[in-house]
């Protein structure tokens, strides 16, 4: 017991030894790594008694021994199945945390947009990297983002200049390959949309095998004045993987940030979208869909931080739980003093379809201004028998009726995603999931 406890405390610190295996980059990157490593040494590892971590156990993470992803041999997997047709020439691919120039193409994008691998830009001392990296994060005191800094290597860097509206969606594909060893990998992506620009990004995490690995992606987004950023994240990591993500977005005056997070993969996943309002009159959306089965655990802790007057925010988080899966949701809505005229909506709906499933939900409001309309709701339940009956009376069989209802439940969060192929892909995922649900031994 004591050895395990000790392991928990020193787990990330021990892994810092792998810092040596990172490629030298630039002085700037070295400094970020050093600072990150210092923070890791001085920040305690989360404990299940911490309010923020009380519903899940990280034992699966810290009880294993990991090596840095760089020890793996270079791989060249066939990725064609994962490419999105809309993004044939607007795609960055990262294989095991490293940029793959071979699979990437940005030809469809205008020349004045900066889109490249963070490592390549940093190595050439690009001033944009220095200006924007870690400028839009709100994860002070968080050991995982410090750890990510300590292993800062690669990721996507996108800068859209003033007034540039890009119709073509951009696909960021993060691929983890199969391996005999258990490895950890980090990535850090930065998306900056300058004044009046528009951009659509699909962040896509894929595991090619069934192996265990620890994936720690950090994404920071800046939606500048009057900018419009649409950010879809699809997490399809391997069924044994551990996925701990940090996503933060700064939303400036008159800007609109929409984020959709779809969780399908990973044995243990933790998403932490944090949206920070930086000026008056903004709009943002933080929707999510979670489809989990087996022994999967999915945890979403979101923060919607309203700091200035006039904001419209929306969060719809839906989960479908089968087998022994466990879903956790904690959504915080903060309204700071003097942030008047806030209209904030939050809803967490859970479809618990199995005897052994578990749902924890904690929607949370903390309001310090009086002239606001903030609502939240949470439901946990199953498919409505009357609805199933109605569909059966219309000629559908039980399976079709249930499938249709689960599909309809999930669709609400998918239908706002504007990339057609992503929608189609998710519809297929929902279909597969429903199939699995019908064969689960714990289904009621």
């Amino acid at each position: 017991m004591t050895t395990l406890k000790k392991k928990e405390q020193t787990f990330l610190i021990d892994l810092l030894d792998f810092q040596d295996s990172l490629n030298g980059n630039s002085e700037f990157v070295d400094n970020v790594r050093m600072k990150g490593a210092d923070e890791v040494r001085n920040t305690p590892f989360p404990h299940s008694k911490d309010e923020e971590w009380r519903f899940i156990s990280l034992r699966d993470l810290y009880s294993d021994s990991y090596q840095h992803v760089s020890v793996l041999e270079e791989k060249d997997p066939d990725l064609r199945d994962y490419f999105l047709p809309e993004c044939a020439n607007s795609r960055l691919v990262f294989i095991n945390g490293v940029f793959s120039i071979k699979h990437s193409s940005v030809e469809a994008l205008p020349d004045d947009i900066v889109i490249d691998s963070l490592a390549r830009l940093a190595a050439s001392d690009n001033p944009l990297v220095k200006e924007h990296l870690n400028k839009y994060t709100t994860f002070e005191g968080d050991v995982f983002s410090s750890f990510s800094d300590a292993f800062l290597q690669d990721g996507a860097f996108i800068y859209v200049p003033k007034g540039r509206k890009i119709d073509t969606p951009i696909h960021l594909l993060f691929v983890q390959t199969e391996a005999d060893i258990t490895y950890f990998t980090t990535s850090h992506s930065v998306i900056v949309a300058d004044e009046g620009s528009e951009i659509t990004v699909v962040e896509d995490h894929i595991g090619l095998g069934d192996n265990k690995y620890f994936n720690l992606p950090v994404v920071e987004v800046s939606a500048g004045k009057e900018a419009y950023v649409k950010h879809t994240k699809i997490q399809r990591d391997s069924q044994e993987a551990i996925h701990i993500a940090r996503t933060s977005a700064f939303v400036e005056k008159h800007a609109n940030y929409e984020s959709y997070t779809i969780t399908i993969g990973a044995k243990l996943s933790r998403n932490e979208p944090r949206i920070s309002q930086r000026d008056e009159e903004v709009k943002f959306t933080v929707d999510g869909l979670v489809l989990i089965d087996g022994e999967q655990v999915s945890d979403t802790h979101s923060v919607m931080d309203h700091r200035f007057p006039h904001c419209e925010s929306h969060q719809l988080h839906k989960c479908v739980i089968i087998d022994k899966a466990h879903s956790v949701f904690n959504g915080k809505i903060f309204v700071r003093p003097h942030a008047q005229k806030i209209d904030s909506f939050q809803e967490n709906r859970n479809l618990l379809l199995s005897r052994k499933g578990l749902v924890n939900t904690k929607p949370q409001l903390e309001i310090f201004a009086d002239d606001v309309v903030c609502t939240h709701g949470a439901t946990i339940g199953q498919l409505d028998e009357e609805e199933v009956f109605y569909l059966k009376s219309r000629g559908l069989n039980e399976k079709q009726a249930k499938e249709l209802l689960i599909y309809a439940f999930a669709l609400e969060t998918i239908e706002n995603i504007t990339v057609d192929s992503v929608q189609k892909l998710l519809v297929d995922e929902v279909h597969n999931f429903t199939e699995r649900q019908l064969h689960s031994e714990f289904t009621i």
Partner: protein, 481 residues
């Protein structure tokens, strides 16, 4: 809508802030084994109660003050509290008739609107009056006894009905349940005891009236209500305290046990002194209230109107163990000035087809903070359990805060849990509408706030609803005048 009018609404004068001049017995401050034995000795308690206290004290010593709540205050100095406070006249002895009670105290209760003479009272309410650490008098005791209902102070019950008390005391809230419950179990002074036998509907409303008068002491009330099969009881509780610049502590434990088909309705109007505008003084209200639906088809319902106390830390809960049992929680919490409230409920669903309803209304004004904290837990065995929760907050002014922390857990797929919450303020359009119908701005605000709390107020028993209305009226005073 002027903010001043809104703010004046909640700035009504505290009417119960007077002190009664009574002589107190000497009692040392602080807490240790000797003090606990001394409390036990003065109350002439049997050995098992003394043991109960000492075991609780041992547990308490090992525990740490909770800090997870959303309230901030200077931790009380537990060594500087007088844990027992008896008036000289009574000196621990129970008065045989009202003639034995200090007339000063009778006058106090009269002033509070609670006459202890039976002929002066509203028919249909039996009152147990508790002054600091002692139960002063219980009315209509004989009449209740005819029906087999026992209603008396807990000290009396320990003497007269030890087998019942022993069977149930500490079974709903164990000795070491939490920091304040353990402290209470060690030093509890007095409180009410009620036992309703099988197949009995208690013929009148039962009420306890708690008064803190001694500046130095804390009040550690302990209440135990047992409702046997097919029985029913409605119990009311009221609390006030004088204005002192120092803070007093009130750490109570209330245990309710409902057996098969039994129904308990527990209503509270809590109006302890809340401190002044600067946050000086007031009562720290750390209360553990829990009901246990032990039998099938039983029902426990909590209704609370929380307007007083500098700090409120209170989560009346229901353990729904019996199949088809029902738990309810209705709450209005009003905070103003520097008051802080962290209150809510827990509904633990264990039995099949159990249902629970939570309706919580929080109103914050001034520089106060009002938090709802609730837990709904559906265990894997709770087939077809249902929960419905609503918690609404209303903010008045820009310097207060409203918080909602609902914890929801479900491990049963046949269960249905619904939770919703909203935060808003008195709408300008609502006020405008009422004004153009001929109401003054103040009347309009008062009407809107009353309407906001109506869902809860209508749950109060008739006799109490009048008092609650008056109480909200006091808080709302200034808006109308």
């Amino acid at each position: 809508m002027s903010t001043e009018a809104l703010e004046s609404m909640v700035g009504g004068e505290y009417k119960y802030g007077f002190t009664t001049n009574v002589e107190y017995e000497e009692f040392p401050r602080g807490i240790n084994e000797d003090i606990i034995r001394e409390i036990s000795r003065r109350k002439d308690e049997p050995e098992w109660v003394t043991e109960f206290r000492l075991e609780a004290y041992e547990k308490w010593k090992q525990m740490e003050e909770p800090n997870w709540h959303n309230v901030h205050y200077e931790s009380p100095d537990f060594e500087n509290i007088q844990y027992y406070s008896a008036t000289k006249k009574n000196n621990g002895k129970r008065p045989e008739s009202l003639d034995d009670v200090d007339p000063e105290i009778i006058a106090t209760y009269e002033k509070l609107g609670i006459p202890l003479q039976e002929q002066k009272q509203l028919q249909g309410i039996a009152v147990d009056a508790i002054f600091d650490s002692e139960s002063i008098f219980t009315t209509f005791k004989e009449k209740l006894k005819e029906e087999g209902v026992i209603f008396c102070s807990i000290s009396e019950a320990i003497h007269d009905y030890p087998e019942i008390v022993k069977k149930y005391l500490g079974t709903v809230v164990p000795k070491g349940d939490n920091f304040y419950a353990a402290l209470n179990s060690a030093v509890f002074s007095d409180g009410s005891f009620c036992y309703v036998p099988k197949d009995t509907v208690c013929p009148m409303e039962l009420a306890s009236y708690f008064r803190i008068n001694n500046e130095q002491s804390g009040q550690f009330e302990r209440t135990l209500i047992i409702c046997e099969e097919n029985s029913k009881v409605s119990y009311l509780e009221g609390c006030t305290a004088p204005k002192f610049s120092s803070t007093q502590m009130h750490a109570a434990v209330v245990e309710l046990v409902a057996l098969e088909n039994a129904e308990i309705k527990y209503s509270t109007i809590q109006n302890w002194y809340s401190g002044d505008e600067k946050g000086q003084g007031g009562v720290f209200n750390f209360v553990t209230k829990r009901g246990h639906c032990r039998g099938d088809n039983s029902k426990i319902s909590w209704t609370q109107v929380e307007t007083g106390s500098a700090i409120t830390w209170k989560y009346p809960s229901v353990i729904l163990q019996g199949d088809n049992s029902v738990g309810e929680f209705f709450s209005v919490a009003v905070t103003s000035n520097r008051q802080q409230a962290d209150t809510g409920t827990k509904m633990i669903h264990i039995g099949k087809n159990t249902t629970s309803t939570i309706i919580s209304k929080g109103i914050s004004a001034g520089e106060s903070n009002n938090s709802y904290r609730g837990q709904v837990k559906i265990s894997s065995r709770a087939e077809n359990a249902k929960n419905y929760s609503v918690c609404d907050s209303m903010l008045i002014g820009q310097t207060c805060g409203a918080h909602t922390f609902p914890y929801i857990e479900s491990a049963n797929p046949t269960a249905k849990v619904e939770h919703e919450a909203s935060t808003s303020r008195v709408g300008e359009d609502q006020i405008f509408y009422l004004q153009q119908r001929g109401m003054s701005e103040d009347d309009a605000v008062s009407l809107i706030v009353n309407g906001f709390a109506k869902d809860v107020l209508k749950e109060l028993p008739m006799e109490f609803a009048v008092e609650a209305d008056k109480l909200l009226g006091i808080k709302l005073e200034g808006s109308v005048g």
